[in-house]
Amino acid sequence: MTARQRGWFFAVAAAGLVACLLWAFTGLPGFGHYPGPYGQVILGQAVQQTHATGVVSAINFEYRGFDTVGEEFILFTAAAGMSVVLRMMRGERERQPADEAESRTAAPTSSSIRVVALLLVGPTALIGWWFASHAQTSPSGGFQGGVILASAFILVYLSGEFLTFRRLSPVALVDAVEALGAGGFAGIGVAALVMNLPYLYNYLPLGQFPGAVSSSGTIALISFFVGLEVAAAFVLIVSELLEQTLLRSA
């Protein structure tokens, strides 16, 4: 069918979708009046039970820890899947970055970009590490901290030091760190099984003071492993795409 017919078909279908959505939304109890009891029950119990003042992270890594394991493995599989999909095709060969030096048409990176980017690498890595290890106290957590940590590596590439980026993140090491992160999370749960407790039960000491860094048992540890895994997954994704720009078909 032509584009116009497709357009009309979409218009009809979209009208139907909008009608169904509006019907659903008028059945909701209005913005700001959420009646669900589950969240309120958790809010009342979470701080005493887990000694974590960040209730969202407590939900992510303890009350709903099983869902988070699943989501983390989605991330793991996506990064691994990219390595498989972007394999070299028949007839392609990799060219060394040094070969391209003579035919470079792009302008060299300006000094201000290099200086600013390199200056930002250290603080970014530190902030990412801080976020990944403070899930239980404030709005941070493994997922955000991991992405910030990965962007510290990417800043090295953005400052024009592509070869340094490659040397800093060899694929074997990044793969190992990602596996350590994912396996560590699953392993903490399995260790609970070994101790005759339910999977992912919070068995580490809870700490005396709710909201201290070394409180809340397994939540802090799991968040740290998740941070490692997310950082490694994103560095792997970016390296895979960067390697693609080096391939050239024969």
Partner: protein, 85 residues
């Protein structure tokens, strides 16, 4: 604490901006410009999540939508452009 009326006005403003941003992202047809529009849209979304009292989601959306996604998209565009040359 912010009064409810002020919070309501803030939320309505940011919601309207987000709706406009989504339309702009969809209507931009050039690749690189669309990635820039997506980056701005990500920041608008982050402000919306902050106004909805969800600072964790704000952090995630800021790092992912304004940093990681545009980098991944630009690398893919560069790869495709290199082959088209």
């Amino acid at each position: 604490m912010i009064s409810t009326g002020l919070m309501d006005t803030l939320q309505v403003t940011v919601l309207v901006l987000v709706a406009a941003g989504a339309f702009v992202v969809v209507r931009t047809r050039t690749r690189v410009r669309q990635v820039l529009a997506l980056s701005v849209y990500g920041m608008l979304l982050a402000i919306l999540f902050l106004v909805f009292q969800a600072p964790d989601v704000t952090l995630s959306e800021l790092t992912v939508g304004a940093v990681a996604l545009p980098i991944i998209l630009l690398l893919a565009i560069a790869k495709v452009r290199k082959r088209e040359q």
